[in-house]
């Protein structure tokens, strides 16, 4: 097997590869936790040629660097100096990412026991430890640092277990991250390593730190860059997995193509689009590049152009039409999700802020035509954000959108992308599908953001049978919904807020304000709605 020399790093790695053995005390098949649908080679390769002793030294140095910075940040009161618009959005990131790291940790424990290729198992083992390191770093730097060290409004950094579990935006992320652990072991890695880590994490852990630093949050920035230094190795693990299965059989290539189409869209709705939403909506002081420009550079050029494009010689390809849809959604989607977040602010656990003239100028400069599409909407959001103004933006928004606003049964995104009133009707699909749990012939209405999610549903409908958020809370009073979601602060009154400038004043909204509206929350679609021309959708 070995053709390399015996000295130096390469020689040492090859010597370790040759220590592989076949156990005689147990049958080989009994050492495998669960089989994969893919054919596996006997050996693979780690491009980093990493050994455990090097891994430990490297990670120790990274932790020394990070926690040294954290100590200094505590001493100079860094948590008090964070621009609050960004600081509040960290409450969202800090609720979503640590559980995702935990899911990834479990994935790689499973991968080690399910993919018996020694070189890959070594990389998966290190990655399993990385993911737990990331969980600990994020809890320290994003949650505990702010709770313990005088961030102006620490409520929300302790809300991660519940918000991850069933919140209207938490559902988006959790449903995507469950794909880390609920598929074939190799399919999981196509999704997590090849698309999640290689395509998306540059935006999450490199571009977002850029915005964090610009908005006074150096702890977030350094934590992100340190995490991403592990992701660099995870990208190599993903590449090692890919080349191992591509070489093993032609049948693998067919399986890979199916997984690539699924993983590309699920990555986009779980990571790329939500990250761009946080990047644009969390920034008070703006970066030089827009989320769209970063996505074009990091994902279109550096992932699809210099990586996925080179897989076409094996017949592996993301459909052109899907990439074109991603591009269109990335142009308007972050702003649409920003409007959605402002509209459903009582359902969320962080404080938001209406956009100002500087924001309008930035958006129009980076996204020409933006003001025409979003300007009036943001004026309405601003006018309805003050407590006691007589209305609530949630009700105003529902009045405008009606039942066109549904949640996708696959990705849980609102069905108003790429823009609530321009183009969304060409993408969303409201259709009847066979019910899987009832009697033969029974159908149910299922809502999708796009045909891509409908295709994912049709591939494995049994995965998506749980009632969605709107069906679960059909006809509930809005205040009761907030109580059920545990969105009321410990004082028993205060809730999420649509403004930053009311902190500590009597102008903060309370649950009593919401109860006073007394309107049931009713968004479920009926059969008549499917053909209603006022509820336009592509399936019509």
């Amino acid at each position: 097997m070995t053709r390399n020399g015996t000295g130096g790093r390469i020689g040492e790695y090859e010597r370790l590869r040759n220590l592989d053995w076949e156990p005689k005390s147990v049958r080989f098949e009994d050492t495998v936790l669960e089989p994969t649908k893919y054919d596996l080679p006997k050996h693979g390769y780690d491009p980093f040629r990493l050994t455990a002793i090097e891994y430990c030294a490297m990670e120790q140095q990274k932790d020394n660097d990070l926690y040294g910075l954290l100590e200094g940040a505590v001493r100079h009161g860094a948590a008090t100096k964070i621009e609050q618009r960004f600081g509040e959005y960290v409450k969202l990131v800090a609720a979503m990412l640590p559980p995702a790291e935990h899911y990834a940790h479990r994935t790689f424990g499973r991968a080690v026991r399910s993919i018996p290729v020694p070189e890959l198992q070594a990389g998966y083992s290190f990655q399993m430890l990385d993911e737990m390191r990331h969980f600990q770093m994020e809890m320290q730097c994003w949650n505990r640092f702010r709770i313990k060290h005088n961030y102006p409004d620490p409520y929300g950094f302790d809300r991660w277990p519940n918000m991850w579990a069933r919140n209207i935006v938490g559902d988006v992320f959790r449903s995507g991250v469950e794909n880390f652990i609920t598929n074939d072991p190799i399919s999981n890695l196509v999704y997590l390593q090849m698309f999640g880590e290689t395509a998306a994490t540059n935006a999450l852990f490199v571009a977002l730190p850029d915005i964090a630093a610009t908005n006074g949050d150096d702890v977030y920035a350094t934590c992100g860059l340190s995490i991403q230094s592990d992701e660099a190795r995870h990208m190599a693990n993903g590449y090692a997995t890919l080349m191992s299965v591509v070489e093993a059989s032609d049948r693998n290539v067919e399986l890979l193509q199916e997984d690539i189409i699924w993983a590309a869209w699920r990555e986009f709705t779980t990571f790329s689009l939500p990250i761009a939403f946080v990047y644009e909506n969390g920034a008070k002081r703006r970066g030089r590049r827009s989320a769209l420009e970063l996505w074009e550079q990091y994902v279109l050029d550096q992932f699809y152009g210099s990586y996925m494009g080179k897989l076409e010689k094996w017949g592996l390809k993301v459909p052109d039409e899907m990439i074109a849809d991603m591009h269109e959604w990335m142009r308007w989607g972050p702003s649409t999700l920003g409007v959605f977040a402002q509209m459903v602010w009582p359902f969320l656990w962080w404080r938001q802020e209406p956009l100002d003239d500087a924001d309008f100028e930035y958006y129009e400069n980076k996204y020409p035509g933006w003001y025409e599409r979003f300007g009036v909407i943001h004026q309405l959001i601003n006018e309805t954000s003050g407590r006691g103004n007589g209305t609530l933006v949630t009700l105003e928004g529902l009045g405008l959108l009606g039942k066109t606003l549904q949640l996708c049964q696959v990705c849980h995104m609102p069905t108003i992308l790429p823009h609530p009133m321009i183009g969304a009707e060409e993408y969303r699909r409201f259709v009847k599908k066979p019910g899987l749990n009832g009697e033969a012939g029974e159908t149910k209405i299922v809502t999708f953001c796009s045909k891509w999610c409908e295709q994912i549903y049709d591939r494995e409908p049994h995965r998506f049978q749980t009632p969605g958020y709107f069906n679960h809370y059909a006809d509930w009073q809005l205040g009761d919904l907030l109580r059920d979601q545990e969105l009321i602060r410990p004082d028993g009154k205060l809730i999420g807020q649509p403004r930053l400038d009311t902190l500590g004043t009597d102008d903060m909204w309370t649950i009593d304000d919401i109860d006073a509206f007394g309107i049931p929350f009713s968004m479920s679609l009926s059969e008549e709605d499917l053909s209603d021309p006022l509820i336009p959708h592509a399936a019509q």
Partner: protein, 109 residues
């Protein structure tokens, strides 16, 4: 390739900035004359080149007057794109797709 995606042979690192990183980037640019580098606001360098980018670790060690090997460099590699090969005394990024047999050769190129 599509209207949205152009075939690319570019490769690159994103390197965490620090006390020595500016000097290290200068050295890498000397060794890779066609490469380009930019320090970004978040405290990291974008270092890109077409086809290939080679980091000579022995030269960095001489520059810093202390041992500096692969694992020391990887502490500061926040991300990369292209195909990576960590070798004796060097780290190399290539635009070519490398397979297991390529890595098993004496040198990947």
């Amino acid at each position: 390739m599509t209207a949205d995606v152009k075939d690319s042979n570019w490769v690159g690192f994103k390197l965490i900035d620090g006390a020595d990183m500016g000097d290290i980037v200068d050295l890498i640019l000397d060794d890779n004359p066609a490469a380009k580098a930019e320090l970004m606001g978040g405290g990291y360098w974008e270092l890109d080149a077409e086809d290939e980018l080679v980091v000579d670790l022995e030269k960095i060690s001489d520059l810093l007057e202390r041992p500096f090997d692969e694992k020391d460099f990887l502490v500061y590699v926040s991300s990369y794109y292209g195909r990576v090969s960590v070798e004796d005394g060097a780290i190399r990024l290539l635009s070519d797709m490398l397979m297991v047999a390529d890595y098993e050769r004496e040198a990947v190129r």
